[in-house]
Amino acid sequence: MTSKPDAPAVETGMLKPIKATEVFRKYESMFFFVVLIILNAFITPEFLEWGTLRNTLVQVFPVMMVALGMTMVISSGGIDISVGSIMAISGATTARLYVTGVSSLGLEPVGLAPALACGVAAACMCGFLNGILIAKCKIQPIIVTLVVMIAGRGLAQIILGELSTSLLFTSFADFGSLRIGGVIPVQMLIVVVIVAAMIFVVKKTNFAKRVEAIGDNRRAARLVGINTVWVTVGVYTLCGLLCSIAGNMEAARISVVNVGSLGLLVELDAIAAVAIGGTAFSGGKARIMGTVFGAIVVQLVTIIVNMNNIPDKYSLLFKAVIVIIALWTQRKK
């Protein structure tokens, strides 16, 4: 009323009732999720069971954590392909301190909590380094994270002092396969907490707005006084933090830290999850719930293939098709 007496023919009425296609776009990853569930309820025996849900969530855990970090990175207009190596570095740091100790420094193995703290710190450092190289040295994100991806595994091996360290029969490994009350895997609990925290961050904080602004127009962001260097560093550090959760929990679950294979190729699934989730690759709004369902959809494909005894090679094709359909339906005209 008060505004625009001579505004153009804006039909306020039209904007309110949201169109079906828009609903679809907004909740698209969830739509795929539902379709996959329904489809499988018919074709896959034993599909609609608690065990399947549990398997899905436990197996998708590292991908989901990494994808959440990746969502923020992509929202800032960047990309991080070093996530798998950061998982390995984090796991290696924890395992070295927790299992082996550092004999050359006369360091005996330490307790789980300090070891984990160091593991998390190491991953954050890697993220920090990524951010500095990108924002300060102005090297393109894909190259910086490629370097960290390559060098990271070597570094992880040096940290660990060997290729793989076993966590078998340790209380950390027990934690990794812990089921609360004998039913709910501990991973599920962590997912709920982290996702809630991420949603809060994205919906409510200045930080997320600044990240989005940088992703949308870096130059303009600088001119409204956003410290683009530190926000970028913050984003990659956050991604590192989430990688550390992924890396350590996965190591605990499989009870080994093998720096050659921990987190290997996780970046592909994570990127696919973000894409299905609808976060734009040109930067912009981070869509956390989209990524969550995107990750589950990616994982469901693998699980379905396994459960139906379809040769593994087809799951690659299925993933490709799903990502394409997802992106095709949410494309902007």
């Binding site: 398997n55 080994v256 093998n258």
Partner: protein
């Protein structure tokens, strides 16, 4: 093992490969991030030092094309011998041709390769994977009472196309013909990797397939299976009568041995990485002009609850 400090020492005084007098041996490793290859490579290096050889190594990161390039780079330096751990039976064969053209004799290790002994290479030395496959089959069979009606087996196999995977698959199936009550109900890739095997096992369990035994192509796969079964509340061990699932595998890793000792892992057929001595024996024999057989078998053994203590230290 060789620590970081060693390397930085040798780096600080750049050498052109002539610091150690004596025959020069280069090793082209598969360079897979698998403890076995590192153990083998370390063995070779130790043995080379002991016998006064000048030793160098390249790691192919499990990529055939990188191995070919590695060998090309190696022969430029004209070593006296090339020890070749083929990434892959067919793909790595061209490395033989390159070495031959440069006049570098080749000793093939780890796995089989396409080529003719005595012509393309001197000899090949590795475990008998077909025998290992047969042995694993036999061990599973013997764990059950002789009158068991049906023994349903899940196989978690290694990377497709690898000589060892092919050998074990072949041996397993060949021997199974002799045991009509045995049957493979599911065969999934574990890719010698614990996480992959564990996921595969979890999904097999969830799909409701029933089984009595698991055969892993490598300890990592067996342990992955044991973990998945444990998380699901199933027991593994040596006593099928009490509902325990029999897990048999190939390997001899530290974790594998630990699991045998803990009674969770029925038997291991070893695949020893400790045969560097045989490799250098072959090199020295060839240098002296002696005739060598086209295949030198590396002997493997069965590790079980009874003999676990004497092998505990040999884990890699």
């Amino acid at each position: 093992s060789k620590g970081p400090s060693d390397t930085s020492d040798s780096k600080s005084q750049p050498d052109d490969g002539k610091t150690v007098e004596g025959p020069r041996v280069a090793y082209s490793s598969v360079g897979d991030p698998n403890p076995w290859f590192l153990a083998f490579s370390a063995e070779l290096e130790k043995e080379a030092e002991k016998r006064g050889f000048n030793f160098r190594v390249t790691h192919a990161q499990a990529k055939v094309e990188k191995q070919i390039a590695d060998v090309e780079d190696i022969v430029v330096q004209k070593p006296d011998y090339l020890v070749l751990g083929p990434v892959e039976t067919k793909g790595s064969a061209d490395a033989l041709r390159i070495a031959k053209k440069a006049g570098v004799p080749v000793i093939v290790v780890n796995r089989d390769i396409d080529g003719i002994a005595g012509e393309d290479f001197v000899t090949k030395i590795y475990s008998d994977f077909e025998w290992i496959g047969e042995k694993m089959c036999e061990l599973v069979h013997d764990a059950f009472p002789a009158d068991a009606k049906e023994i349903k087996v899940v196989e978690l196999h290694g990377t497709a196309g690898g000589g060892n995977t092919i050998g074990m698959q072949k041996g397993l199936r060949k021997k199974m013909e002799a045991y009509p009550n045995m049957k493979i109900v599911s065969s999934q890739p574990g890719n010698f990797d614990r996480a992959t095997a564990m996921k595969a096992m979890e999904n097999i369990i969830q799909s409701g397939v029933e089984f009595d035994a698991v055969v892993g192509h490598f300890d990592e796969e067996s342990i992955g299976a044991i973990q998945a079964l444990k998380a699901d509340g199933k027991k593994t061990g040596s006593n099928p009568a009490e509902g325990e699932i029999i897990v048999v595998g190939n390997g001899g890793t530290k974790d594998g041995l630990k699991a045998v000792k803990a009674g969770l892992y029925h038997n291991i057929v070893s695949v020893t990485p400790y045969y560097a001595g045989q490799v250098f024996d072959a090199i020295e024999a060839h240098a002296k002009g002696e005739e060598l057989p086209e295949y030198i078998r590396v002997d493997d053994i069965v590790i079980n609850k009874e003999n676990i203590d004497e092998h505990m230290a040999s884990g890699f």
